[in-house]
């Protein structure tokens, strides 16, 4: 059924992503591709992978932006994946019942056997979370690694989404955002976790932690060469910089 669950899901599993610590290494995107190429939504088809115009399905994409925060420009690395919205329009527009939101944990999934590949759900998602698989003729999306988080064959520490397990700086956190006492909810409360484009009314579950303010450090990054006196010291400065 492509109606949203009648009752609010008892749990809201999702991610909290720290844009202050993310270094933009793309490891989460690569491990996502690696795990999901053999997981629930497999395969994640590629076209022309080693050619001039490689293209393919990825559930996680890392953008790098330049943002003017309080007068000081800074680079913000931004991993983008499905936000498992409470008010997921991608689910309600689906004509076939292939898209659905699970009542037990709020995860949004695609039943590929029912998908007719009309692409309307990807139009309905402002976050670009859904990518069409041209080889399979169906839509694919992040599953929040349902084949890991409930997988009893894995060590308990591994029962988190692939992107979370691989992040080298622990910028990605996984948990239940409906429980105010969970570690992720605490993080959101402490750091003022933000929903993306709240003005569109999708009520995304995932939250992003904004970069911390860094005015004092930015002020220290003045060029130093001008203050060096004497030809010799200027030469040393040039040599070393």
């Amino acid at each position: 059924m492509t109606d949203l669950p009648a009752t609010t899901p008892t749990r809201k599993l999702g991610l909290v992503i720290d844009l202050d610590t993310c270094v933009g290494c793309h490891a989460c995107a690569v491990n996502c591709k690696e795990w999901n190429s053999g997981g629930f939504a497999a395969p994640l088809s590629d076209t022309d992978p080693y050619g001039a115009e490689p293209d393919g399905v990825w559930f996680n994409r890392v953008h790098s932006f330049e943002a003017d925060t309080k007068g000081a420009g800074r680079t913000v690395h931004f991993p983008r994946s499905c936000l498992h919205c409470d008010n997921a329009l991608c689910v309600t527009v689906c004509p076939t019942g292939a898209s659905y939101k699970r009542e037990e944990d709020g995860i949004v999934l695609v039943d590929e056997d029912k998908c007719i590949g009309c692409k309307l759900c990807s139009w309905a998602c402002p976050y670009g979370a859904r990518e069409y698989d041209v080889n399979e003729g169906v839509m694919k999306k992040c599953t929040l690694c349902i084949d890991r988080i409930y997988n009893e064959n894995l060590d308990e520490a591994q029962r988190v989404p692939a992107c979370v397990s691989t992040c080298p700086v622990s910028a990605r956190h996984f948990g239940d955002l409906s429980d105010p006492h969970s570690a992720v909810s605490q993080l959101v409360a402490d750091r003022g976790g933000q929903p993306l484009m709240p003005e569109l009314g999708y009520a995304p579950v995932n939250r992003y932690l904004s970069p911390r303010s860094e005015t004092s450090q930015a002020a220290a990054l003045e060029p130093t060469a001008d203050s060096v006196e004497g030809k010799f010291l200027q030469w040393v400065d040039r040599l070393l910089s």
Binding site: V62, A67, V93, G97, I116, C118, P126
Partner: protein, 319 residues
């Protein structure tokens, strides 16, 4: 948004077909539709044919057309599903209406209860189907140029004008007397012009809905520039949602749509009001052809001018 040929063909073709069928139903109910078989046979064949071509074209752009029956199941939440149900549902009463009109001796002045009932049901279903088509677009919040109250009026008025122009041309070509149909076509064109003018002004004057800042969870006013995209070559999202070619020429194309879609047909129909014979036929055909070229350009613009929120992640500053 990428203007896929299949979707442009679908909306223009089925819009024209439903417009014809709607007018034929209404005018039959009012006792104004010509009974002449040289007119009514091609009229029904063309109307139902245009609808069928449109629906088949929309099926062709599916990844799994063989599963299309599944698309009829989610009418409670999905406008696409509602459109499918209504489009297929229209064939029932429309088919019976056509059979009744073509094979039974209908008194055009008082067509009888069965024909009136069938024509009313057909007319209502035609409007509901075109409305559902427009709501597929008008319900998409990430696309501010589509998520507007005037989008359904654009589809409905252009479908009406399109159907009237085709009936007018067909009546002239078959030499049938169809009083007032060119006036109906003129009314449709004026309504379409008014709605599209309002729409094109509206999308230009609209305040930005979202910014690149709010797309990545920073304060809305934060200036954000794309520094490094996630991939070197365009991906599905950019190919499907990031179309830019026609946007560059939007002003010229809009003027073209105004002149060819509305200006020429209105002028030609007005000239034809006092004429008859081969010249009137030529003018009626010119009006129909010109208007449909304009409507195809209008539909192309409807897609190409639509900006999707996902483009905020790929360099757009606001949508």
């Amino acid at each position: 948004m990428h203007p896929a040929y299949s979707v442009i063909l679908f909306t223009v073709s089925s819009g024209a077909g439903y417009g014809m069928l709607f007018l034929m139903s209404i005018l039959a109910g009012l006792g104004r539709l010509p009974i002449d078989p040289w007119f009514s046979w091609p009229a029904f064949v063309i109307a139902l044919g245009l609808i069928s071509v449109g629906l088949l074209s929309s099926l062709l752009h599916l990844g799994h057309p063989e599963r299309f029956l599944r698309a009829l199941t989610q009418w409670r939440s999905s406008w696409l599903s509602r459109e499918g149900v209504l489009a297929i549902g229209t064939f029932g009463p429309a088919g019976l209406f056509a059979l009744g009109w073509l094979f039974f001796e209908v008194d055009t002045q008082s067509p009888g209860l069965a024909i009136v009932l069938l024509s009313v049901v057909t007319a209502v279903l035609c409007v509901a189907t075109v409305f559902s088509t427009s709501m597929i677009y008008a319900s998409l919040k990430p696309i501010p140029q589509w998520c507007r109250g005037d989008v359904p009026y654009g589809y409905l008025t252009l479908s009406f004008a399109s159907g009237a122009l085709l009936l007018n041309a067909l009546a002239a070509l078959t030499g049938s007397t169809f009083d007032g149909i060119s006036i109906v076509a003129l009314i449709g064109l004026v309504l379409g012009y008014a709605v599209k003018t309002r729409y094109w002004r509206g999308i230009r004057a609209a305040n930005p809905l979202s910014t690149a800042g709010s797309a990545i969870g920073l304060e809305k006013g934060t200036s954000v520039r794309s520094l490094d995209p996630p991939h070197t070559e365009p991906n599905y999202l950019q190919k499907e949602m990031g179309y830019r070619v026609a946007r560059k020429h939007a002003d010229k194309l809009r003027q073209f749509a105004y002149i060819v879609g509305f200006g020429v047909p209105v002028l030609v129909l007005l000239i034809g009001l006092g004429l008859s014979g081969p010249l009137l036929t030529a003018l009626a055909v010119i009006a129909a052809v010109s208007a449909h070229v304009g409507i195809v350009v209008e539909r192309w613009l409807f897609f190409a001018e639509a900006t999707h929120a996902v483009t905020l992640y790929y360099g757009a500053e606001s949508i």
